[in-house]
């Protein structure tokens, strides 16, 4: 038998889930992103016509979402690198702080970007 959410419901597990889901989402987005930028090979006009499409509010909203995902994956990843590469035999009090910082950094980037595009 497997665990349900009652067992998984703790901060570090949610951090893991955010990291995994954002990673998958970014991997799916990447080929699209590269394809769009590759349009520049066919001249600035092609790229420009795509960029005008990004003026739609809905597209803008999903862009903010993407920036949030990227910032979350970045800050969550830094936390993971610390956990894996910095030995921490003693009670790791700093983890909770690291989690809060992770959320803060992602939110800050998302907000900064949102303020600029809207």
């Amino acid at each position: 038998m497997r665990n349900d959410l009652r067992s998984r419901n703790h901060r570090c597990f949610w951090a893991f889930l955010v990291h995994r889901v954002s990673g998958v989402a970014l991997s799916v987005f990447l080929p699209l992103h590269f394809w769009v930028l590759g349009q520049a090979l066919e001249g600035a006009g092609r790229l420009e016509s795509f960029l005008r499409w990004t003026d739609h509010p809905l597209v803008k909203l999903s862009e903010i979402g993407l920036v949030l995902l990227l910032a979350a994956h970045l800050s969550g990843g830094l936390r993971l690198l610390l956990l894996e590469f910095r030995p921490w035999p003693a009670a790791p009090r700093w983890q909770q702080g690291a989690l809060a910082l992770t959320a803060g950094v992602s939110a800050a980037f998302g907000l900064l970007f949102a303020l600029n595009v809207l």
């Binding site: 990447l30 992103h33 930028l37 600035a44 990843g77």
Partner: protein, 112 residues
């Protein structure tokens, strides 16, 4: 797969992650800066065209991503969908190569 290869793949994923941390920070900052006055192809290409340092940084970024993303997807897919085995490993390798080529093509596109 041998334990040795898996340990090395783990290291490759973490090493690429360290590289990515720097690249993504740069990318986020660039984006926040770039969208201040709306996105236009002319503005983007004006900044990137012929800029060798920029192209080198982003070519590295692409390489790191092409190592990092397929390895991450591989763990997710083996664990959540049971997609394991040689054929799947080949598919993830293919995805990595595709990412690298498409990414470098894009860098070249906005550089030239």
């Amino acid at each position: 797969m041998s334990a040795r290869r898996e340990a090395l793949l783990w290291l490759a994923q973490r090493a690429s992650a360290m590289l990515l941390a720097a690249c993504v920070l740069l990318h986020l900052a660039t984006m926040v800066y770039a969208v201040r006055s709306g996105l236009s192809a002319a503005a983007i290409l004006g900044r990137t065209g012929g800029n060798l340092a920029w192209a080198a940084a982003y070519a590295t970024f692409v390489l790191a991503v092409a190592v990092h993303a397929p390895l991450g997807l591989r763990s997710v897919c083996t664990e959540w969908f049971g997609w394991r085995g040689r054929a799947w490993d080949a598919a993830f390798l293919g995805f990595g190569l595709l990412l690298a080529l498409a990414g470098w093509r894009a860098v070249w596109g906005v550089f030239q």
